[in-house]
Symmetry: C2
């Protein structure tokens, strides 16, 4: 499907959900950029999930998002159960405004929902010659090292760093060995998962990509203790604490599930999901031109590192998504049959043309 | 050896190197706490290395450490080639002072040297009811995913988060699958390294713990692409950029080697090694008591997560080091024969009693 066609459709759905035109545009941009970049699990494939959460009363499409606590360089925002797709750009703007005044800005958000891909929020800092950061907690699907309980989400971290002539460095990764989206691809292709991605519900090794649906868990980055999974556990924990304990959202196993058919915790420890954003002005450290020229040098040195195999050069974080985005803008966004069917149901339900 | 005896000896060595009494005490504390915690590779085992760097003129024991650029929430510090053990606490203090005034403080340091364990610097924030962060770049020993070149250090990240009745959360980890110290232990015990820790100099899998000495490389957290090593590469890169590109230190393959027998780069891109520190006031986000009581809940929930194996509970970051520290304070710090011999040579050379 053409990017523009998908955009129009998503906007129409968000409007039907009661979003303002501005919010519908914003949420659509965040969603469809994921599809452009090939992070298909976080794009329009999620649209019907948002609709179901809205129907279940868990998403408020006319929210009053506001700052509830602040200092010169920090803020806590209550998203009033907004779409995370809308709350996140709001919060990132506050971080950038704080950074303009005192060098850096740090914003923790509570009472929010799934915010799409982390990278796009972090990138908002780039045009201001700032480094941007974004992270979020998520539905508990990950077991800490040595446990069979699912206590953390895939808790992604994104960091965007500007350069001059080179494109920016954009790291955006789940703090698990593999993101859930990777497992979904294997499920569709009826393939096994590599050892170290998931464990069974009793904590044994597994290669079944459906394991999480059977009560099993995703594993923290590192896979097992010998290969550093305690480090992935630390990373996921930091994201959880910065996003939810700092803001007053639900943390750890209390984080609300993305799927509307799973009940919310009956002893919540906070409000909704949590996110954390940061913006650092480059010139709060050194002149921006100087920094960006060194970033060019950094990027070209790493891009040209001697490869092990001549056909596989080193990949600079952000490059593959940028290339795919350009391709898909010029051609089409491929949608798999299940996603297309899902969008068609929405089209019928809301009486919108697809 | 008793902790106190080791402390007296280290202080005497630093004084002989020309450090002020205050700096000698500070550097000794950072070093010996590593030994107490069982991070033996970063304790007194490094002392003779610092002496050799000082003799080679790469460490300045009477430095004029100063802020060279600042904003309300940030600073860049030139460490004047100081011991990192001394520059790091100086920089962390500046981060804390900035946070007292505007909520958070972020300090990037150039022209420094190896700073010991990252965790101890991050922990300085705890007594102020702040979250502390510390990271540093280091000698290039790590190959990016798909490369056989060593372009990054083991680039550790430490984050210290206060709680109320529970002990604090202290994550402190190298962004590689295994730290160099783990390989040193295997070398002493003539054991093989697990697959995924190192590669040969042509980029092949290896189980030889001496591989790094043969021109091979440590691997980013995740070990290989299928298990997320590109994420470990992103983490190591962020540490490198925050520590060195923001401050004006040497980054990537230009980072100065810890061992004095390896030459410095003849086309440096900055000054010395770089570090990055952060401090965030809890009450810049929510009342500290409220946050700390939720951290107690977080910590006890994760500590009591259902284990896979009853004899191996979930490990809270910081717990093992705290327990070992207490044990070693009450008894002895075990020193291996090579380290003891090393200290004895220093004792003879400097005419100090050991």
């Amino acid at each position: 499907m053409k990017h523009q066609q998908l955009t129009q459709f998503c906007e129409a759905v968000f409007i039907k959900m009661g979003c303002s035109e501005k919010d519908a545009k914003l949420a659509t941009e965040v969603l469809t950029i994921a599809d452009l970049r090939g992070i298909d699990s976080h794009g329009v494939a999620r649209l019907s999930g948002y609709v179901r959460l809205w129907k279940a009363g868990r998403i408020n499409t006319t929210p009053n998002i506001k700052i509830v606590h602040e200092s010169p360089s920090t803020a806590v925002i209550d998203a009033d159960a907004a779409l995370g797709l809308v709350a996140a750009p709001f919060a990132m703007k506050v971080a950038i405004e704080k950074a303009l005044i005192c060098g850096t800005g740090w914003v923790s958000v509570r009472n929010s929902n799934h915010f799409g891909i982390a990278g796009i929020h972090a990138e908002m800092a780039l045009e201001h010659d700032m480094i941007g950061m974004a992270m979020t907690n998520a539905s508990p699907l990950v077991a800490p090292t040595f446990s069979k309980e699912r206590l953390l989400g895939t808790n992604p971290i994104a960091v965007a760093i500007p350069a001059d002539k080179e494109p920016p460095f954009i790291g955006d990764f789940a703090t698990t060995t593999a993101a859930n989206g990777k497992l979904e691809i294997l499920q569709r292709e009826s393939k096994n998962a590599p050892t170290g991605w998931v464990q069974t519900k009793s904590g044994e090794e597994s290669n079944d990509p459906h394991e999480v649906k059977n009560g099993g868990a995703l594993l923290p980055l590192g896979s097992d203790r010998e290969h550093g999974s305690h480090k992935g556990f630390i990373l996921g924990s930091i994201v959880d604490i910065f996003s939810a304990v700092l803001s007053g959202a639900n943390y750890g196993p209390w984080a609300p599930p993305f799927v509307s058919f799973l009940p919310l915790s009956d002893d919540p420890v906070g409000l909704g999901l949590g996110h954390f954003f940061g913006a650092m002005r480059i010139d709060a450290f050194r002149p921006a031109e100087e920094f960006k020229s060194h970033m060019d040098n950094w990027l070209s040195r790493f891009r040209n590192a001697t490869p092990i195999n001549e056909n596989q050069p080193v990949v600079i974080p952000g490059d593959p998504e940028r290339q795919l985005s350009q391709e898909r803008l010029n051609t089409d966004i491929p949608l798999n049959d299940l996603v297309l069917k899902d969008l068609q149901s929405l089209a019928e339900e809301f009486k919108i043309e697809l």
